[in-house]
Structure formats: structure tokens, C-alpha cells
Amino acid sequence: MANTDITSKVMDGMGPHGTKVGLLRVLGPAHVWALGVGIVLVGEYMGWNFAVGKGGAYAALIACWFAGILYTCVAMIDSEVTSTVAAAGGQYTQAKHIIGPLMAFNVGLYLVFAYTMLEAGNAITAGYLVSVVAGMTGYEGVLDQRPFIILVIMFLAWLNYRGVLATLTFNLVITAVAFVAIIVLFFATSGIIGTGIMNHAALMEGQAALPYGTLGILAAMHFGLWFYLGIEGTTQAAEEVRSPARALPFGTLAGIMTLLIAATLTWYICTGILPWEFLGDGVNGSVAPLFDAARLSGSTGLVWLLGFGTLFATLASANGCINDASRAWFSMGRDRYLPKWFGAVHPKYRTPYRSIIFLVPIALIFALGAPLDQVITFSILSGLLGYTFMPLNVILFRRKWPLDSIKRGYEHPFHPLPAYVLLALCAITYVAVFLGYGTQLIAMILFYVVVSLWFHFWRYRFVNRGAQFTMPWPRPKGY
């Protein structure tokens, strides 16, 4: 085996980038969990319920579990590759080493847009929540949500600017509170403790069962991804964790297990309390379904708990998104895929500060200028393209560097079955997005075709060829 052991105490797999100041290695497995779950948990607090609107409550449950299988494959595949490619940029850096520069450029953009759109969606939800709380506390006018949306994005960008340890420790605390809030709501409303208020049978009878038939199950897969979208973001912390080979697989796999529990509980609570048409309309009906479920519980304590839970989940997610999007943008700048100005690290705080600041106005444009379902769809589509890349990536990874050539921190089982399952589920989800949002899907693909041509025929001339390959790996098999 070549001298490429990522688990080595003396070699961490980092390669030279020519930068004088690097990112700080200060994070542990709990921070990785907090980054992954923190980004995603907001998907239980808002957005997933569009799946109910697209197919009904049962369709949303089936989508939840199929999307759970999709993301379990993502987490397994990602854990293996990331435990070996321990550098900022996550899947972007993986693609650069395994498939090639153009693929890497596209993957970098998938990451930036998926996270920046998710951040915008979080800010919209936080603004909505403030307006609801204002109404509940006696304000009679129509509250302007825009200042709160701007405040959320600016505050979290500032936090990210100041340092990664404080940012992700903040995430760890508020993510834990948001997760516990879901558990408390489940016990308080299900009848396990006290009197239950669930009424699944009555709320799902008649046309409410499967309003669009089996086609609705397929359509619901579109927003089923929202239960888990972003868990793959754990890889962005690879250059800042103390032990990437151990912390990244542990944090990622613990994260997906947490989310599978939270997603199923969320579906159970909301469909047992809220009528499906109201639940399924995340723009005119239930913007924050768990919060709405708490409102119908009749408990002031639960309303406050889920109000804070929703707010914390949106903040944790937006916080993690700023962290991840800026790392991906920074990595592309460092490799000259984007102007090198973005590849700078703050001399004092050791953060990719220029990338953090640059992405703030973009998030604001989307948060203030587009409706929530469009923003979410844009994020999901970018994520989906990234998931389509992953099976190709791991198949080529195993082919170019077989198990006996590089020591992995984690080896995912049953290869290549998870890759094929993931590819099949991605294909199904493209059809699901096509049902209802086909124009946006085509616009998005055309965008990536145009930027790919722009990169290949123009931008790539500014990129060093051999210097991009920064991992201490042997020559790939077959080259």
C-alpha cells in the first residue's frame, strides 16, 4: 500500500496549496454532527410539507422513507470518499481528484447554490416566524419581514467571519434544542404522556388518503429530499476537523440516523393534527408545520418551545449553509477555478472571509426576491445533481484506487449496490421534479450546460494543471 494513509498521525492527507495561512483544525465529531444535522433539521420544521401538497400525506411518508434510503446511500458513499479526501470543498475536492476539473467546477457550483438557496429559504422562514409571533403577541398591522430576513443573514455571516469553532459550537447547542423540541412535541401530542390529540384516521380519510393516486407518490419524491437535504455538507469541515478519518464518517452516519428518526416523527405529528391541504401548502397554508401543530395542541409551553425550535432550526441551518457554501467557493478560488481573490484566509480568524462576504448579497437577492417553493426547488435541484455525481464518483474512485491502494478511514459495504440504488432514486426524483416544476428543471440544466462551456473554453486557462491534484495519492490505475 502506498504512503497515503489518511489515518496516519503524522500525515493528514492535506496537500500544499501555496497558501501561507491555513484553516484551523479545531473541530470534533460532535461538531461534524452539528454541521450536518444543523443544516438539515430545518427541513423537518419547514419545506418537507410541500411533499404532502404534491401527493398527499401517505405519499409524503413513502417519499420520506425512499428519500431516507437515498440519503443513507449518500452518507455511506460520502463517508468513504471523504475519509480519504480530507480537504475543504467536500465533494468539489473529491471530483477534482477522481473525475476531473470540469466535473469539479460543476459540483462546486451545485454545493454553493444548494446551500445558498437553503440559506435564503431559512431566512424567509425566520422572517415569517417573527411576523407570526408579532401577531400572536398583539401586533395588528402587517409586519414587514424583510428587515428580519436581512438581519438573520447578516448576523450569521458575521458569526462565520469571526471563526469556525464558535460558529459550529453555536450550531451544536441550537440544533440539540431544535431536535429535543420535536421529541417533546411527539410525546406531548401522541398520547404516550397525557391525552393525545392525534387523529390520523379522520384526517386522512376519503380523498385525503392519496389525492393524486400513485402518480402523487412519485411527485412527492421531489420535496421528500427536503427531509435530509444538506447532510452531505459534513464533508466541508474536512480541513478543519482534528481527526478527519474518524470524525467525518462518525458525524455523518450519526447525523443520517438522527434525521431518519426526526423525519418520521415529524410526518407522524403533523399529519395527525393538520388537514393535508393546509399542511401541503407551504406558502399560503402551513409555512412552519411543527409550529402549527404546537399551536393546535392548546399548550402555550409547546407553542413557545416549537417557536424557538423553528427559529433555532432556521438559524442553525442558515449558519451551516454559510459555512459550507463559503468553503466550496473558497476552494474553487484557491484552485483558480474562480478568481483567486476568493481563495484568501483571514489572517486572524482563519476563515475564508472574502467568500463569506461575497455570498451574503446573493443569499439576500434570493431571500427577498423569490417565493419559498421556488427557492427550495432551486436548492433541491442543485442537490440532486450533486447526488447524481456521487455514484459515478465512488465507482470511479474504487476503480482508480482499489481498496488495497489507499487506506480508507471508512469502507462502505455492498459496493456497488448503494451506488446503483442512489442512481436509480435520483432518476425517479428527476421525474418527480418534472411533475410540476419541469420548466425550472430545464432552466437549471441549461444553466449548468452554459457555465460548463464557459469554464472549459475560457476559465480553465487560468488553472494550474498538475497543482490541482493535492492529495498524496499514487497515480490512478489506468492512467
Binding site: I99, P339, G436, Y448, V451
Partner: protein, 125 residues
């Protein structure tokens, strides 16, 4: 293989590249949005005049939840009756599939060309 030395890009050039990328990204979301092409807005196919919970197809339990949320049959009318239209042309679905597969095929082929140069320069011919 001769080592490739990339040209140094001017600050103006860097700025133009960022503006181009930003323009394309904003266009991808906002052009379909402004043209009213994005998303399939739900429509009420058969409106109900003077709606009641019964005529809206709601059971007593469902109606009670709507009332608890602050709705009346009139204010809940559009929310309850609006539906997606999932009728589609097979040709559109095939076009989408061709577009996605074509995108990945082109990208993998161009990436492979670039990748060979990277490996050759990194590890030598």
C-alpha cells in the same frame, strides 16, 4: 509533458468573470420566474359557490381543525380545492431525460480530457 503555465488574470478580468457567473445564476432562477414559467401553480378546477365544509368535502374532524386554525369555508376555499395538474407530454419527459443524460455525458467526456493533462503533469508521462 511540458508544464503548463497559466496566464495571470487581471483584476478587471476577475471581476468580469464573477459578473458573468452571477448574471447566469440569477438568470436561471429569475427569468423563468418573471416569465411566469416556473412551477406549476395549483389551480381550482371547479370552484364552489357559497362554500360550506360539506361542499368542500371536509369531515367534521377536518372542519374542526380548519376552524381551530382560524379558517372559514370561504377563506379555506382555494386552499382546499387547488390541485396540481400532472398531465404531461411524453415528448417533454423524453426531452428532459435527453437533456440531463446529455449534460452528464458531455461533462464526463470534457472532464476526462482535462483530467489526463492533470495526471500527466502531476505524475509525469
Amino acid at each position: 509533458m511540458a508544464r503548463y503555465t497559466p496566464p495571470e488574470q487581471s483584476k478587471i478580468g476577475q471581476l468580469i468573470d464573477v459578473v458573468v457567473l452571477l448574471g447566469l445564476s440569477l438568470g436561471a432562477l429569475f427569468v423563468p420566474l418573471r416569465m411566469g414559467l416556473s412551477g406549476a401553480a395549483k389551480v381550482v378546477a371547479t370552484p364552489v359557490e357559497n362554500p360550506t365544509w360539506e361542499t368542500l368535502g371536509q369531515t367534521a374532524v377536518q372542519a374542526a381543525q380548519y376552524e381551530a386554525l382560524g379558517y372559514t369555508p370561504a377563506t379555506a376555499h382555494d386552499l382546499i380545492l387547488a390541485r396540481f395538474d400532472y398531465s404531461f407530454e411524453w415528448s417533454s419527459l423524453i426531452l428532459m431525460a435527453v437533456l440531463i443524460i446529455g449534460y452528464f455525458v458531455i461533462m464526463l467526456r470534457l472532464s476526462e480530457q482535462e483530467y489526463k493533462d492533470v495526471i500527466n503533469e502531476k505524475f509525469g508521462e
